[in-house]
Amino acid sequence: MSSEWIGQLRSIEQQFDRERESVADLRSLEELKNRYLSRKSGLLTLQLQNVRNVPATERAEFGRVANEIKAKVEGLLETLQQKIAHAEADAVLERERLDVTLPGSRRRIGHRHPLTMARQEIEDIFTSLGYTVEDGPEVEKTYYNFEALNIPASHPARDAKDTFYIADDVVLRTHTSPVQVRTMEKMQPPVRIICPGRVYRRDAADATHTPMFHQFECLLVDEGITFSDLKGTLERFHKQFFGEKTETRLRPSHFQFTEPSAEVDVSCPFCNRKGCRVCKQSGWIEVMGSGVVNPRLYGFVNYDADRYTGFAFGGGIERYHALKNNINDIQLYYQNDMRFLEQF
């Protein structure tokens, strides 16, 4: 029953359907839109203006179909518009595609020296346990380096074979222990200090010795301090530094400034006590010396030896860092080869 009028509308619709297929960019979309909907010359616009020429009987039907087609065309143009806009945006992104497999542009970042890192870590552990960091001179009087630590003039430890002498009564400190004496001279207990720093011994450099190295020593003097407190403190420190699985073992030894004295071993961090090359199959590695403060020291600093007891211990920072990082030559710390330093 479609009339010629309606037929014309339909053929415009079909033409639109054909033409919209070939629209691929916003410009041709705009052209398409104008061709059909332009106010003056759009094909559909013209048809709608023709409505008054349509016979009255068909007019209603014509209007309905014309509006239906117009709505359809508008809808399709809108969809097309969005599709093309997306496609063009995608195309822009595609053109911006990078070869992300190229290496990143890196800024050079410096590294703290491993011995600084280890020292800071150790300082942080002990300050969290209530210790205060102290330091003192490296060029030291023999009184502080030896006498006041119960190492009298005749003692072999004072030999020029092992100690760098500046004058008869001045040496390069052989340990950080003089700082303990200097601190005790300044104050009465409670004393709870950690002294890190450079120390010097006349050892030829090899994989395990250097004539200069770094030590840290702790001293705690207070009422009621016992050997058991020394054990507990060392266990806590080693778990913190090497990991919670680490065990600590003490073996009797001899030092002039502590009594009883003990060498301190930790369970080998590499084999967990099973035995390996690093620990020479023993499962244990010696890390420091320790002991109950020899009451003779209190005589030099006017402490009441019956009222106060204390403990002290000290280890090499190189040794602790080397052990934690499986480094087998401590000379690496002093060569300062960037290929070594940049690994930390």
Partner: protein, 670 residues
């Protein structure tokens, strides 16, 4: 100390094998270094502390083993068969210096036959690392290893005047020791002499003239006690260490001297024959008084952390031969002469601790006493390290020792700390600056093909009378390498300057640069300083030359302590609410006009809205006279109260340009 397991068993019935024993004995303070099989024997190498010379013998170690397992110590048994003739008639012994020789025992054996030692004796000595010589010499060594007491045997027929005199060496006296070396003596050296001349270095080594040889028939045995300090000094002076000196300098048991002498005499009789003249010649001027020590029972828990049963304490003291007497308060013991290390209560606590077992004391934490703290300024130093890391500098750590000639090149006026006994000619003083260490480190890396470097050291320098922490920075090569992303950027003066600016900014210190007082080791045209706080620039080529640098090296010296002291508190600035206006000018200036002058001329123009002046381009030549250079500058105006109007901005511009034209003869480029 090497211990033969079989030998040890003669003195104590050890219930465990050698290896187990070695591990157990480690826990009472004699650390096992190694345990190796030796035929049907095992040899334990024990680390004996300097305070325990009594354990430099099988008997001494056996005593400790007895104390571990609660076993009886079986001391050597022997019989002496003496002939009526008296030893004292054969030879006389005199001690001239009783401080240096507290006792001298002699035994005289006549008619011995010198020959090789029997197999068992040779093996024993070999096991503990002693070379067999002949039967008499071997016996003296055997007794030393057994009882810990060094001995010596003289060919008695070679003693002039049948005399032994223990005296100090004379000036210019000489003695050829057993090793064939002629030793020059002096009064600090204790010698054994006959009527005429020295025949042995007391406690260290015998003389060649009186050595036991194949033709020896009469033997004088020496078993003495020498002052440990004297022996140690002589041994060090002469550079000699012998098994004898090793023991004497740690302290031998004065009471053992007689027993050891008898023991050796009996063995000589048994293995080399001969007749033992009656009586020991025992000169003993310094018989020690017994040392009594009291231990208060409550000190055990007070010092060690837990009380120990009286029975355990008694057992330990008895096995260690301390003759304990228990009292209401604790114990009184008598320190045996072989334990010179025992002098006070604390020494006894140590004996209890190690024999009861360190593992048997609980582990506890000391009661808290509040917070600890880092060194003053350490937080700020850590911030500084972070800034340096972010700027690309890696920290180095070099030795404090240095070469005086090298140091003098940089800081010739500092009197250094000189070592009396340096380890090498390259390291005779402590460094006076961080420069040589830094340059040596750069050199080390450059020599290994690492040519783009930035490093710093924050450490001490030393002078006669003091030491102080300081900071040095060094940079060379490329800051950034050319890549597919960007072009290369060399490390240069301005990179270093930027880092110094950043660093000082971190401490809120304004930078006032000058170029005066240029140290000789800086490039005179590439140097600047910030007062005494920092000096930086390019290393002078003639100072770079000895290090063979083939690229420019830049260094900065910063007085870190001054910096930490100068650091001011930071006053926060308000973030501006109104937009700034940026304006660019290009101007021509006379060559020689420093940027600082340009900058000052602009900033002193009296424009309070001027918040930034920054040069962004500089051309040395172009479409302008050769005597000029072109500088492009951008300035930013900003008001805290309002948005600036175009008219205002225009006025500011004109004011600046006019000033530059009038004062510096600048020409605005168009």
């Amino acid at each position: 100390m090497k211990i033969s397991y079989n030998w040890l068993k003669e003195f104590v019935d050890t219930p465990v094998d050698a290896r187990t024993l070695g591990q157990r004995i480690t826990h009472i303070g004699l650390a096992l270094e190694s345990c190796v099989d030796f035929g049907d024997d095992s040899v334990l190498d024990l680390d004996v502390g300097t305070n325990r010379p009594d354990c430099l013998s099988h008997l001494g170690v056996a005593r400790e083993v007895g104390a571990i397992y609660g076993l009886v110590l079986k001391k050597p048994h022997f019989k002496l068969k003496e002939v009526p003739r008296k030893a004292a008639e054969a030879v006389s012994i005199t001690i001239d210096d009783a401080d240096l020789c507290g006792r001298y025992c002699g035994r005289y054996i006549s008619g011995v036959r010198i020959g090789p030692s029997p197999e068992w004796l040779r093996k024993r000595l070999e096991a503990v690392g002693v070379r067999s010589i002949n039967n008499v010499a071997d016996i003296t060594n055997y007794v030393m290893m057994e009882l810990g007491h060094p001995m010596h045997a003289f060919d008695a027929d070679k003693l002039q005047g049948r005399q032994i005199i223990v005296r100090r060496g004379g000036v210019d006296e000489k003695l050829t020791t057993l090793d064939g070396v002629e030793r020059l003596l002096n009064p600090s050296i204790l010698v054994i002499a006959d009527a005429k001349s020295p025949i042995a270095l007391a406690g260290i080594m015998g003389g060649a003239d009186t050595e036991i040889g194949p033709s020896t028939t009469n033997v004088l045995l020496e078993s003495a006690w020498f002052n440990p300090v004297s022996i140690r000094k002589t041994a060090r002076t002469l550079g000699m260490t012998t098994e004898a000196s090793y023991r004497f300098e740690r302290g031998t048991d004065i009471e053992m001297a007689g027993f050891a002498c008898d023991r050796a005499a009996s063995m000589i009789q048994e293995l080399a024959g001969g007749e033992l003249l009656s009586g020991a010649i025992d000169v003993y001027p310094r018989k020690p008084t017994p040392v009594r020590i009291t231990l208060r029972r409550e000190r055990i828990a007070a010092v060690l952390g837990e009380r120990v049963d009286d029975a355990i304490v008694n057992r330990i003291f008895q096995r260690l031969e301390l003759q304990p007497a228990q009292t209401a308060q604790g114990w009184t013991v008598e320190a045996p002469t072989f334990r010179a290390d025992l002098a006070n209560e604390q020494d006894l606590l140590e004996e209890i601790a190690r024999h009861h077992g360190l593992d048997n004391f609980p582990a506890t934490m000391p009661a808290s006493r509040g917070f600890g703290s880092l060194l003053p300024n350490e937080r700020r130093v850590r911030q500084l390290r972070d800034t340096l890391s972010a700027a690309g500098y890696s920290e180095i750590c070099t030795y404090s020792f240095s070469n005086e000639q090298v140091e003098k090149r940089f800081y010739p006026d500092i009197e250094p700390v000189r070592l009396r006994n340096p380890m090498s000619e390259e390291a005779t003083i402590l460094r006076t600056s961080l420069i040589p260490g830094l340059l040596t480190t750069l050199q080390w890396n450059l020599n290994r093909g690492i040519r783009n470097l930035q490093m710093y050291e924050l450490s001490k320098v030393y002078w006669n009378g003091g030491e102080r922490r300081t900071l040095i920075l060094g940079g060379t090569g490329s800051l950034r390498l050319a890549s597919v992303h960007e072009s290369a950027r060399e490390f240069d003066f301005f990179v270093l300057k930027g880092d110094i600016e950043e660093l000082l900014h971190g401490f809120n210190i304004p930078i006032r640069l000058t170029t005066d007082n240029i140290p000789k080791y800086y490039h005179p045209g590439r140097f600047a300083r910030v007062g005494h706080l920092a000096m930086f620039g390019e290393l002078h080529p003639s100072y770079a030359e000895p290090f063979k640098f083939r690229q420019r090296v830049y260094i900065a010296e910063i007085d870190i302590e001054l910096l930490l002291g100068a650091s001011a508190g930071r006053q926060l600035e308000q973030i501006p609410r109104y937009p700034g206006v940026k304006r660019d000018f290009s101007l021509l200036f006379d060559k020689g006009t420093q940027y600082a002058t340009v900058h000052r001329t602009i900033s002193d123009a009296g424009i309070s809205e001027l918040v930034r002046v920054e040069p962004f381009d500089r051309m040395e030549s172009g479409s302008f006279p050769e005597t000029k250079y072109s500088l492009s500058i951008s300035v930013v105006y900003q008001s805290a109260e309002r948005t600036l109007t175009d008219v205002e901005v225009e006025t500011f511009d004109k004011k600046i340009i006019k000033r530059l034209e009038e004062r510096l003869g600048a020409q605005l480029r168009t």
